[in-house]
Amino acid sequence: MSPWLALAIWLLVVATIIPVMGMAIGYAEMKISAHMQSRIGPYFAGGRFGWAQLIADGVKFFQKEDLVPDNADRPVFKMAPVLVMVGTVGLFVVIPFGPGLTPQNLDLGIFYALAISSIGTIGVLMAGWSSGNKYSLIGGLRAAGQLIAYELPLVLAVVGVVILAGTMSLDGIVQAQISWFSEAGWAWGMPFVIVQAVGLGVFFIASLAELSRIPFDMPIAESELVMGYLTEYSGFRFLFFFLAEFANMFTLSAIAATLFLGGYWVPGVPDSILQFVGPLVLLGKIALFVFVSIWLRWTFPRFREDQLQTLAWKWLVPISLANIIVTGILKVVI
């Protein structure tokens, strides 16, 4: 099978996974926030627990009229959601779901992931500019400023892991964690979070900012900018942005889990079994990150734009630089 064919098949699989993941996370968001707020959440759709609520919502979005504002730049306006989706879909390609279960085990795995995820920014800017709406424009500007500012700590936070693992391949990073003590003859590996807790913190905060989730949701800040760059979107184009947000949350959590928590690996389980439980283990670790970000979302208000920039440039960047230096020294000493 040629690699291109494999890629095409994988993209097809991803195209079905993304809506499912989006719905699962959306449903989790609804239910978890409801329980945090002494509510029940969706209850009726689907008979029990409102499990079909998100499907109903999706169908609703498809039924809605696809409005393009008169003042909008039509081609750009229509292309923006697609571009946002491309960045998300591309990320799925490199996530290792189990031993040998990496769709494309790129040598440059994590580097590729960071590169491809930055494409979404262009989509957001296009959406903000082309809507012909001042709120959208301000939202787009905020998004751009935010994504530029947080791209840097995101990349720098990863460097520590790459130094430790000595590879940029995501599967290689997992293997490095599994076999960390193998030279000493121990079967127990080490998830990098133990020495890279700072890196994980920076990575998680920066990925929240990349996702534009509270406390970093200034680009859509509905109490200020109505809906920011999404203001003029409706119907399935809005759904695209919506799904992209949740799918992005999934992939970034997956990368965080892979980099810092050992991905599909559980200590003491041989590869032959990991092949089957690996994806489930990874899903569990992803769920942890997703839960934390939902938890934060319903706890915090949003930052102000200048506070966000301060946090990025004056705190996260220096911290992650210091982390790199310390990790480098550690690597040499060890």
């Binding site: 707020q37 001042k134 709120y135 301000i138 800040a221 706890t299 915090f300 930052f303 734009e305 506070q307």
Partner: protein, 402 residues
């Protein structure tokens, strides 16, 4: 050439870094941003015409009048009892409290003194209206900062308080419960001709005590949730400072004025309800920033709950209604009665000529004066701060436009 370039650039670079603002350096076009009249956080139909340069607004002009209903004019063609139905729609978040100063003004002009029990019931319901209004603020203000969860905590208890108000008056928002000379017998209170009037619904007092306990514990929860939140502090401390002298000159009243450090509370000054019988404290802020305005309102919830508890415990028995003529004619005269509404000073200047309705009714509403300071307060602020400051003033458009 290169050196020369560096020479000219260096001081600017230093200043730029020190000032941490690039907007002055780079020429960017100004943009007029219309916030409202339909906008998620303008509390109705307020419109702000903001001239913004990037994120900074240098001139914000509030535009009101989208909700002007002409109550002052309408009052001139209505009888006194009919007017109460209008005026509890002024500040609908605390509908009940709006009626009190007007009713008191009419009673004073007529020389009628309502019975003590009626005054107590009025006081209890007024403080409940205050609690429910402040809970709406506690719900909406974090939402404007981006936090959704306090909304549910605050509204849950507001619902209980509104239920209690409904239990007595039959209306949640617009009770229209006061009568000149007393209060209406409560809904479901039985035949009113009997001597043994059962005026408050059975179980009301016990449920009120219970509800007040819940309100107090919710206030603690809100304090944990909001005051313990670093981002809330970063968004509100030192933002939108109203110095006391400016606030006074603009006629800003109520919690907004007290947050600026002026301990002025009409409940201590005017005798429109028997507040002197109760122990309560007046929370006073220090800095006059958004944070203090939030804190003062939270503390006032606690104080009001305490007042309600005291009033419930000491409510006297007796009639609900003083003797008044069947058709109410108010003798000629003028009076201004003001009350401490949840939003601030609410007053009615009633000019009567002895007819069925007033010759002129001037409604002094709190929010109107409170937001007239917006232009002053919003000059040179950031767009997110516009929302933070606007929300912290806690206005209702019905109370602004009347």
């Amino acid at each position: 050439m290169g050196e020369e370039l560096e020479m000219t650039v260096a001081p600017d670079m230093v200043r730029n870094l020190a000032g941490a603002a690039v907007s002055v350096e780079l020429e960017t076009p100004d943009m007029t941003l219309n916030i409202g009249p339909q906008h998620p956080s303008t509390h109705g139909v307020l419109r702000l015409v903001a001239k913004v340069d990037g994120e900074r607004a240098f001139d914000v002009q509030p535009v009101i009048g989208y909700m002007h209903r002409g109550y002052e004019k309408l009052s001139e063609v209505r009888t006194y009892p009919q007017i109460t139905a209008l005026i509890n729609r002024i500040d609908w978040v605390s509908g009940y409290a709006n009626e009190i100063p007007f009713i008191v003004a009419a009673e004073r002009l007529m020389g009628v003194e309502p019975p003590e029990r009626a005054q107590f019931i009025r006081l209890i319901l007024t403080e409940m209206a205050r609690i429910s209004s402040h809970l709406v603020f506690q719900a909406s203000y974090p939402l404007e900062l981006g936090a959704a969860t306090p909304l549910f905590f605050a509204l849950r208890d507001r619902e209980r308080v509104l239920d209690l108000i409904e239990m007595v008056t039959g209306g949640r928002f617009h009770p229209n419960f006061n009568r000149i000379g007393g209060v209406k017998p409560a809904v479901g209170a039985g035949p009113t001709t009997r001597k043994t009037i059962q005026d408050l619904p059975a179980g009301f007092l016990a449920e009120t005590r219970d509800a007040m306990d819940r309100v107090l514990s919710t206030a603690d929860q809100l304090e944990d949730l909001v005051a313990g939140n670093e981002i809330v502090l970063a968004r509100t401390k030192g933002i939108g400072i109203l110095p006391p002298e400016v606030a006074i000159a603009y006629g800003v009243s109520g919690p907004n004025l007290r947050a600026s450090g002026v301990g002025f509370d009409l409940r201590n000054v005017s005798d429109y309800l028997p507040y002197h019988l109760f122990d309560f404290q007046v929370p006073v802020g220090e800095a006059g920033d958004c944070w203090d305005r939030w804190w003062v309102r939270l503390e006032e919830i606690r104080q009001s709950a305490s007042i309600v508890r005291q009033a419930v415990d000491s409510i006297p028995s007796g009639p609900l209604q003083a003797k008044v003529p069947r058709i109410i004619k108010v003798p000629a005269g003028e009076i201004y009665v003001r009350a401490e509404n949840p939003k601030g000073e609410m007053g009615y200047y009633v000019v009567s000529d002895g007819g069925l309705g007033p010759y002129r009714l001037k409604i002094r509403s709190a929010s109107f004066s409170n937001i007239s300071i917006l232009r002053w307060a919003l000059e040179g602020t950031l767009v997110p701060d516009i929302i933070a400051i606007m929300g912290s003033l806690d206005f209702v458009l019905g109370d602004v436009d009347r």
